[in-house]
Amino acid sequence: MDVIKLEPTHDKPGIILDKENNKFEFRGNSLPENANAFYEPILKWFDEYAKNPNEKTVIDLKLDYLNTASSKALFSIFMKIEKIKEAGHNVLIKWYYDEDDEDMEEVGEEFDDIINLPFEHISYESD
């Protein structure tokens, strides 16, 4: 399966989706104006991955800035991961947030509230 590897920029997150190495990661800023266009290939990748997922899928999210259009796109990704879980596979969302950033902590809690996936909320020390 194709590997997606995007380097982070000022307004777009760094993304690694690598089935073979069992590494799934989103980090940095997600502020694209057209979140639909940016996340479309990511959603398609998860559609493909869902057909034959790994035994355990751990998604690491370590985001600094998130615009609302990206939140909606992340919600769509979580919906796809929910289907993987419903098919009997083991999944875990690791939501990392800066210990001083109560807003980003809250975003993680809100996702946790509305998505039927196990979340681990992990704070990290500020720079």
């Binding site: 000022h10 104006e33 979140a35 800035y65 615009n67 609302t68 259009a69 950033d101 807003d103 809100e110």
Partner: protein, 183 residues
């Protein structure tokens, strides 16, 4: 409600130049949003405010500018370029973000309804409103998720203020003012 006229609100503030941190009037493109947010990030490095405060101002600025570029009624076709006015003031105790753009009657009716719902929702219930919108809302063709003003309200220290000013037939100036306390 914002009581002053658009000209008063923006230009009266110019008298006290120290308060103005950023001001822009014109086409809001992705590059403009990028430039302003990069500059804000750079300037904030020298401020000792709470990190959350800085991030709130940054996030609100992104939502406001992307809103203008997507939804201003005066825009170039097939392009995310809208025309509007944006200012960031630096007061002693708070940051104030002010923006204005032209909308049409249909947009006014939708915004008026949505914003009244948001300002009349108690702060502790905004989270529920946000979550409901996230579940039910669909991303529009222009990429907006309809979540922006709820998100802004959650980050703002006071209720957001907004107003609609008749400009020309079928054109209305939509004004919004957001405050973020520094401490």
């Amino acid at each position: 409600m914002i009581e002053s006229s658009l000209a008063e609100i923006f230009y009266k503030e110019f008298v006290d130049k120290d308060r103005i941190k950023m001001f822009y009037n014109g086409a809001v493109t992705h590059n403009i949003t990028d430039a302003f947010t990069s500059q804000l990030e750079f300037e904030f490095k020298n401020y000792h405010y709470n990190k959350v405060v800085k991030k709130r101002v940054f996030n609100i600025m992104v939502e406001i500018l992307q809103n203008i570029s997507k939804h201003s009624a005066i825009n170039s076709k097939n392009n995310n370029t809208g025309y509007g006015t944006f200012a960031l003031y630096n007061d002693k105790k708070e940051f104030v973000i002010l923006s204005a753009n032209i909308i049409n009657n249909k947009q006014k009716n939708i915004l008026d309804k949505n914003l009244n719902l948001i300002v009349n929702t108690p702060r502790n219930e905004l989270r529920e409103l946000y979550k409901n919108k996230l579940i039910k809302g669909r991303i529009s063709k222009k990429g907006g998720a309809g979540l922006g003003f709820i998100d802004i309200s959650k980050r703002a220290s006071e209720k957001i203020e907004f107003d609609f000013i008749e400009f020309k037939p079928k054109q209305i100036i939509f004004l919004i003012k957001i405050r973020v306390k520094k401490f």
